[in-house]
Symmetry: D2
Subunit: 326 residues, 4 copies
């Protein structure tokens, strides 16, 4: 099994993924997508920036849209357990000779930037401004009724190495795809917060951000979003779905924002809090790993992703076994 033994006592305690900032070229158009169509809530905005949260989130932001010349992804944000764990996290990254710089971030407490070994820009903090709950203000529920940010999924040129690193800091593998011929990982899903993933990696030129996912209550919310997007000018932004993944068991939809950043709408995965949860293995040649049922994914879904600011791209040396569409 190419999956490392889970590290149950990592150097620091990460609670969950937290947020990401997207560089977007037309802030009004992005607002129409994220706010008017998806239904995320604006927590602050000015001429250059919009902060958004989902309906059950109490942290100030899970998506930041920043006007930019480049459609790129900035740091992936993670929340750690407390300030002590934040210091231990910084020490851990520094001890790996990875860059650590403390920065000031609006609405966040002490925050440092770093990168993982493959170059993904990261941001860790322990405290973010907390907002009053709105999950029972049902007049705010619109669009797909997004409840919370669920996970990031990244292209990685070497999934084995990516998983080894994140496993060391406590991200436990829940499911994985193995390339049976080489015995190497093709893809892996790793979690902190008790769902199938906070962070997943898929083999490919990277690092790039494949998608950011939001969790919604039921499949019907996804169907509502499809109805809305297909009749309000967003039809071309629907990329893949609806369908059910074999991996994670999630009912999914993939859409693209006006800059091509991919958003997954996601529900029905399962609870993974048991530290002895056995990872589920999938064979790369099993078409149901990706699509338990549903139409095959289009080429764009396999190939396109958001570049990370300042990250050098590298091709994978693990070549795809030809994909057999279901």
């Amino acid at each position: 099994m190419p999956v490392p033994t889970p590290n149950l006592y990592p150097a620091f305690n990460t609670v969950r993924l937290s947020h990401v900032e997207f560089g977007v070229r037309d802030l009004a158009r992005s607002r129409a997508f994220y706010v008017d169509t998806l239904g995320l809530q604006v927590t602050d905005e000015d001429a250059n920036t919009i902060y958004l949260r989902a309906l059950e989130e109490r942290g100030h932001h899970s998506i930041i849209l920043r006007k930019s010349d480049r459609a790129e992804a900035k740091e992936l944000g993670f929340k750690v357990y407390d300030e002590e764990n934040l210091d231990r996290a910084a020490a851990f990254f520094a001890g790996k000779d990875l860059p650590v710089s403390w920065v000031k971030r609006p609405y966040q407490g002490r925050t440092f930037l770093t990168r993982d070994p493959q170059g993904i820009p990261l941001e860790f903090y322990a405290k973010m401004d907390r907002l009053p709950p709105i999950h029972q203000q049902y007049s705010l529920y619109k669009g797909v009724k997004p409840l919370r940010i669920d996970h990031f999924n990244c292209f990685s040129p070497n999934v084995d190495e990516a998983v080894a690193f994140w496993n060391e800091i406590g991200f436990r593998v829940t499911e994985y795809t193995e390339d049976a011929e080489s015995g190497r990982l093709w893809a892996a899903w790793t979690h902190r917060k008790g769902g199938v993933h906070d962070l997943a990696f898929t083999n490919g030129t990277g690092p790039r951000l494949h998608h950011t996912a939001f969790w919604v209550p039921t499949p019907l919310n996804i169907i509502d979003l499809l109805d809305l997007m297909s009749t309000t000018g967003w039809l071309a932004n629907i990329e893949r779905g609806p369908g059910r993944h074999g991996i994670s068991n999630a009912f999914f939809l993939y859409i693209r924002d006006p800059d091509g950043h991919r958003i997954e709408i996601y529900c029905s995965d399962y609870q993974t809090v048991d530290p002895d949860l056995e990872p589920i293995r999938w064979d790369l040649k099993d078409p149901q790993r990706q699509t338990l049922w549903g139409a095959p994914a289009p080429r764009s879904w396999f190939e396109e992703g958001s570049v990370f600011a300042g990250a050098a791209l590298k091709e994978s040396d693990l070549k795809a076994t030809p994909i057999v569409a279901p």
Copy 2:
């Protein structure tokens, strides 16, 4: 507009589509599909025949499976208002020089066979054995929870002629696709019972039965069926969907039975009882007419259908404008 003026006073009153018989080569395998997977209820069966009804139907059967060497469709069954209307129906067909033969059908009252001008075998009756209601026996609800047969859809080599005939007997057009170049009908949906259709025609080599549809309560039942079929050996029988049609607004799924007979699972169309309901026109070149959203239909969906017993096939002279996938 290529749609004829509705005939509000047809020669006889057809209540609704009623049933169809399928020739199937392996009765046990067909039973596994229709009963164990879809959840239709057996009302009678012997070594050669299975009679089925859906959960809110009180007539004895809406699907008959008959062991056969040939995977073909037999007569499409229709229920008329009463015995007087049945006689008027027989007289109407005879008056058009169409064949009329009275037959004995188990569980049905007086029944005659005939064909429409394009050769589709038809069966008309006024009375069928009535069974006790089971729609509140919720322990019977399984599979996709099929509530009632909803419509037939047929390939027709000349949709204009087919619609002209069925309009004369009171089947009112609710929506249609026009080939703008030729001004001819590419497809049309016609109803008696107050939904978008009892009977639809699509241009193509015919007559052939494209599909038979069952109505289910909500899109979630269709998702349940997809989950079930994809994990019980029926994955390859899922042909198209889920998605929403532009035409009819229905949330749909198309599946194939073991003999290739196509079944549509269908919900969310709308009420059409107003005699002055204006038909909705779609342009053949509008990809949203077929797929408001959802993956493009596979080639099999456009090309394959069940042959009708004893019906000579004819090619259409109306050639498809190249289909633009959405």
Copy 3:
């Protein structure tokens, strides 16, 4: 059986229930209820009147709100098949010595007013202005996503007589409650358009309008409405439900508008187009006839209703067998 034999050939052909006008004392408050909360669409409005339609309706209005000193219900509106049937309808009522007066109604063609023998004010027409379809403008779907008006339910001091009259004009009984001791009808559901009812009667001081129902796609829409109403100041307007009726099998919710007019939100009844559909009998003492499951109805639901303009009230001489709450 106290249910009359259905009249399959009534003197005129009624298509369906159509609309009702409510006298309301605070038009802005009623707009907040019907438009902002339920999600009905305004088709016209001025200082005194608001016309509303549901999302799949193409007729101009199904609810009219009219500023008034009195919270009363005006004529129940019905659509007949064509102008010829309208004349036959007028002749029928005149022949019964019921008042017939032709009136001008905005957005309607020829229209006459009359009353049924128990005094319910009625309005019949064949043509109403038709509006473009909006059922695929999904950005308009809000609140409970009301699709169409479904039925009226009235208190009647003599349900046997009411049913006898409406049966004569073709309203077929689908289900009924019998008072086993007297052999009389306690309540009955009658239809024209192929659902469980267009018009129902329940024993009680009357005539009064018990409720007007709208059909919605799924039970989840009703749950969404409950969430919305309970967190936007309308909690006290929720009267009964959610639950499932034994009769009609409908999933239901009853709410009261700001003037106390009762609205039912309703889905999951069944198709009744067969002219030989056997009415389902319920015993008055069976608590599941009202509530297959769900909390018992409050006293207000049994006792309160909207008075009809100009209708003299009469008590019923059929006294309730004590109601056994489930």
Copy 4:
């Protein structure tokens, strides 16, 4: 605020609630309830005992039914992080002068029994036999499609003391009801696994088990269960709901098993993994804390609960402010 500061570094790490054993008087009848009606999966059974798991659980059991003369609840089971934490847990309880006895439990590793200070019998373990995943064997999904055990709720004669103890071992309060007059806790919800609760306490004669909850995918599954129970002889076992709680925001249904043990079917609460999650305060006099919408709870729901084996009952000295039904 009567809620203690969360103990972010408890003496041992509890992962989640795990299981409970019920004494039942008629095993076949209980099997009909839990297996045939709710849809739990049998993982082992003999003449006296049935082990059950829900559909996404991989541990061997979450409910044990044991034939007994008494309808009582046995130990509430909790899973700790690993064997080291198990030893620390035992030491913690022993250090509080609470009874600790190591026992052999089928399908579990090292397990000790103890009680909390109010006398609730408890069972801690780190390892339970793991079974193959079945969450994608959709042919097994029946009844209410229970996915996992979610929480226990107990009557406590002193909620302040109960919360103080469980907070010390890391159970963090997510929501609570305060009796404003006395400043004392009326009820509190505490979690380990990232939902609103693993364990809740409500003021009342105790300790008694108020209910055990299972998590289901959507509200429609709960409606399906209501349809099923109300038509298969279980109508009287439906106690309260459906409705939505203010506290936890859950869509709920309460049912009683054949011995009166109360089961909650539950969905739509929210994620609580943030260690700085602010508890939500509810006033005891706010009727929406219990019922955001829905019928008032019956008296039985307030008063009845399962006794714990060997636990002495004590009345609460905190008397209920009269409950105002919504």
